[in-house]
């Protein structure tokens, strides 16, 4: 029993954490939060089911195609919904433009894909139960993403440039970093990470358009809890959120579990708007 709660809790937590990282990567490169973080999570599942389940691509190829498509969506997000409104960042128009884009993508999926959840193919097969792939795949995806980001940040030039921009984007621009290209790259990367989350959780969440809204919210909760832009905080908070949610589902049941998660979220952001583990604060004048 405990095993089942922990397994599904950690799996869902890993998905939330990955979506949270997608929020963070986009935020660090642009200072904008994008609602599309949840959308790419949904797309990961739907496109995976489309490429592998419907078109019959082999799993590695299907995964690559899914991530590429999500990455492309990230580029589109940057060009269509973020870049045009960055010049007036303090008006926060990105909230509206990314919300609009996220709604469009979700509605499009609902109409052209299906409004009912569709099956997501088994990727590896094998054992069921607590050690089933549907539970450990999201965790593996999360671990791979953390390792990948660590490598990127510490061993590559692009990664260091990301860090520099995250630290202080004015200074980074003054240093002559190609801020715009880095931003596009960051949005592609973030969207691919979100897509990976949805793909890895495909068997858990199914290929379902409504996952977009779910992930947009539950992926944001760890960001708010862990501190915006803070990936470590996001991962810890994400996993805790998953466990809390599954435990609440079990102990108090459907509706009250959502209420419990919402109350925790609201309380934390109101008491510590910068997150429990510290985030970044912008200068105003």
């Amino acid at each position: 029993m405990l095993g089942a709660i922990v397994a599904s809790g950690l799996a869902m937590g890993a998905v939330y954490a990955l979506v949270g990282i997608a929020y963070n990567v986009m935020f660090n490169a642009s200072r904008a939060m994008s609602f599309t973080a949840g959308t790419v999570g949904m797309m990961g599942g739907v496109l995976g089911a489309l490429f592998i389940g419907r078109f019959g691509l082999p799993v590695p190829l299907g995964l690559a195609a899914t991530l590429a498509a999500c990455g492309l969506f990230g580029v589109v997000t940057e060009i269509v919904a973020v870049r045009p409104v960055l010049k007036s960042l303090d008006q926060h128009l990105y909230v509206l433009s990314t919300l609009a884009l996220a709604l469009m993508a979700t509605q499009f999926t609902a109409i052209e894909w299906s409004t009912e959840p569709q099956p997501f193919p088994r990727l590896l097969g094998g054992v069921g139960g607590v050690l089933d792939e549907k539970f450990w795949l999201p965790l593996a995806a999360c671990a791979a993403t953390i390792a990948g980001l660590e490598y990127l940040h510490h061993y590559t030039l692009v990664g260091r440039a990301f860090l520099a921009i995250a630290e202080d984007n004015y200074a980074a621009r003054a240093l002559g970093l190609p801020e715009r290209n880095l931003r596009i790259a960051a949005f592609a990367l973030a969207s691919a990470i979100g897509g990976l989350a949805g793909f890895a959780a495909g068997e858990l969440l199914l290929a379902y358009f409504a996952n977009a809204q779910l992930l947009a919210f539950y992926g944001f909760v760890p960001v708010a809890l862990g501190g915006i832009g803070n990936n470590r905080g996001t991962i810890v908070a994400g996993l805790l959120l998953g466990l809390l949610q599954q435990a609440a589902n079990f102990i108090v049941g459907g509706v009250f579990a959502s209420v419990a998660v919402f109350v925790v979220f609201a309380a934390v952001i109101l008491i510590a708007p910068q997150g429990l583990l510290g985030g970044q604060r912008a200068r105003r004048v």
């Binding site: 919904a81 433009s97 919300l99 609009a100 105003r284």
Partner: protein, 597 residues
């Protein structure tokens, strides 16, 4: 005050009435159509028109918070839902009279709205948007779960209205006046210190604070009103639906209420009204598109945000399409200034003692002493990054100093409370003008007069006499202020159509509206032409003559040396030198560090 009124040019009756008519024309046209509707349309259109009216009532209040105040309350449907359930429970289970029910329902809205507004003060926009979205989901979930009260999934009947309001047209004729009342009330707020304060909070928050606008009070008040219209609209919604279940409060409706405002245009009442009508009507007339409707809403939202940030309101704003006169000159009229300032002089000075400001490891200002006496112009110069603007910001209360204090006439000012400076008589301008681009020039000037207002929000809503008197007086003063800085001809133009130099003078006009004893000018001559700098100098000199203490941060050495009584030179956050312009001109140290000559 009486003398002042005589001196100021009264807004001429004829032109004011003309403006009122032009503003009112589209609303009267809509009202005429709405009243004529029962004559030629069937019951179906009664339902659609009632629905538009009901949604509008919710949008009307929300528009003040979202469109004017820029607070992204995405999930406002939550309050409509609460209102609908409260009314249905009170009428259906407690047997209350449906008319009387509006009172407790409205009270619930006021409390709920104010609580949500209070959270808006603590959160950044995205967090707030997420919180309200989450809240609206949770409210529906609770409605499902709390079966004993809400009927759960089976729901409960909406409050039935007695005759003659129990037919589609009868109900419509009940909703229509309420909708019209909301138009009138929100127009009153829009054209008041509350409306201007909201715009300033949205687009120029630091300027709002410098003008003495207390954001918490304004935001909570407006959210309380938005809550009221939402719950009242919820009761009407429940009656219109005749039966409510949680699935009647769809995500599409959340989007509709929010998007109607943005499509309509931020900072407008007419735009969101048309937006609401459009979004209610669209799915009815374009039925093949019905399943694409949410997609289209989102698409419209994206287009509006990117291409027409002013929304429908901007598209139909023909007045501001006419090109402004080219080659116009800013010709200040310093003689106007006496009428704008308090006659009573005071000898108090701003005293800065041992001020230190740090950003992390960077010490921007170190142990600075400075005096800004009344009736003098004090210059503050220094190279870029020497701490001039930081000093100004610390005086204005934007930064909490690491050490030292700022006092006026010996009374220390609360550190970091920027909205308290206006009351201390300190006004300021900004290095980059902080104005509301979408508002008119005169409205921007009137933002400076916010603290003078006494009429309460309720008096404003209902346009009670005190509010009208204050507005007329403020408007006259604003015209005089614009006249003083040479912008009177542009009073009705949209602010973002002004040239950069005109915006700088407009900031001065706004500052003058506060009847300041001290005026902090942050690089007022940047980007000005030579002639304009001269006229600016004359204006500053006249202010000095009238007893205003001016603190001038400026790079333009000519202007500084011309108008200042005392010049302070900053370098690396420390006072390098201080003295009369002549002394500074002679100082070797200053020349090498800064003047570079």
């Amino acid at each position: 005050m009486a003398a002042l009124d005589e001196e100021l040019p009264a807004v001429s009756g004829a032109s004011s009435r003309g403006r009122t008519w032009r503003t009112a024309a589209p609303y009267l046209l809509l009202l005429a159509v709405a009243l004529a509707l029962p004559l030629f349309a069937n019951d179906y259109w009664a339902v659609i028109a009632s629905r538009a009216a009901v949604y509008w009532i919710c949008v009307a209040g929300l528009n003040l918070a979202v469109g004017f105040g820029g607070q992204l309350a995405v999930g406002w449907l939550a309050l409509l839902t609460i209102g609908a359930y409260a009314a249905s429970i009170l009428v259906g289970r407690a047997g209350m009279d449906p008319f009387l029910t509006f009172l407790p329902v409205a009270a619930i809205g006021v409390v709920g709205g104010a609580l949500i507004g209070a959270t808006a003060l603590r959160l950044s926009l995205f967090y707030f948007a997420m919180l309200t979205l989450g809240f609206s989901t949770i409210v529906t979930q609770i409605a499902l779960a709390w079966q004993s009260l809400t009927g759960g999934g089976i729901g409960l009947p909406g409050p039935a209205m007695p005759a003659p309001f129990n037919t589609p047209w009868g109900f419509y004729l009940f909703c229509l006046p309420l909708g019209a009342l909301c138009v009138w009330m929100t127009l009153n707020v829009a054209a008041s210190r509350f409306g201007r304060a909201l715009l300033a909070i949205r687009d120029a928050e630091v300027a709002a604070e410098a003008s003495g606008i207390r954001k918490p009070a304004v935001i909570v008040t407006v959210f309380a009103f938005a809550g009221l219209t939402a719950t009242v609209s919820g009761q009407l919604f429940a009656t219109l639906q005749s039966y409510i279940t949680p699935d009647a409060f769809t995500f599409d409706l959340t989007v509709l209420l929010f998007v109607a405002i943005l499509i309509g245009g931020r900072g407008s009442v007419l735009g969101p009204l048309l937006g609401t009508i459009l979004l209610t009507l669209l799915p009815e007339v374009a039925s093949p598109l019905v399943m694409w409707a949410p997609f289209l809403y989102a698409f419209l939202l994206l287009v509006i945000v990117l291409a027409v940030p002013g929304g429908i309101a901007e598209l139909i704003d023909f007045k501001n399409r006419k090109p402004l006169k080219s080659g116009r000159l800013i010709l200040p009229v310093p003689e106007r200034l006496p009428a704008l300032l308090d006659a009573a002089r005071s000898d108090a000075a701003i005293g800065v003692s041992g001020l230190s400001v740090s950003f992390g490891a960077v010490r921007a200002v170190v142990d600075l002493d400075l005096t800004v006496p009344a009736g003098q112009v004090t210059g503050l110069i220094g190279p870029n990054g020497s701490g001039k603007t930081t000093t100004l910001n610390a005086i204005s209360g934007y930064y909490v100093p690491a050490g030292g204090w700022v006092a006026v006439g010996g009374h220390r000012l609360a550190p970091g409370v920027s909205s308290s400076r206006a009351a201390a008589g300190i006004a300021r301008t900004f290095q980059t003008p902080r104005l509301v681009g979408e508002a008119s020039v005169i409205d921007n000037a009137m933002i400076g007069g916010s603290t003078a207002g006494r009429a309460s929000f309720v008096e404003t809503l209902l346009a009670l006499p005190r509010h009208g008197r204050e507005e007329a007086h403020l408007r006259a003063r604003a015209l005089a202020a614009l006249d003083a800085v040479g912008l009177a001809d542009l009073a009705e133009a949209r602010c973002d159509r002004l040239q950069h130099s005109e915006q700088r003078f407009l900031e001065i006009a706004r500052a003058l509206m506060m009847r300041p004893r001290f005026l902090l000018l942050d690089e007022p001559a940047a980007g000005l032409a030579v002639g304009e700098i001269l006229r600016l100098g004359a204006l500053i000199k006249e202010l000095r003559r009238l007893g205003v203490g001016v603190l001038l941060v400026e790079h333009h050495a000519d202007l500084v040396l011309d108008v200042c009584d005392q010049v302070n030179v900053l370098n690396f956050g420390r006072l390098l030198a201080g003295g009369t312009p002549d002394a500074i001109r002679q100082s070797e140290e200053v020349r090498s560090a800064y003047l570079g000559a």
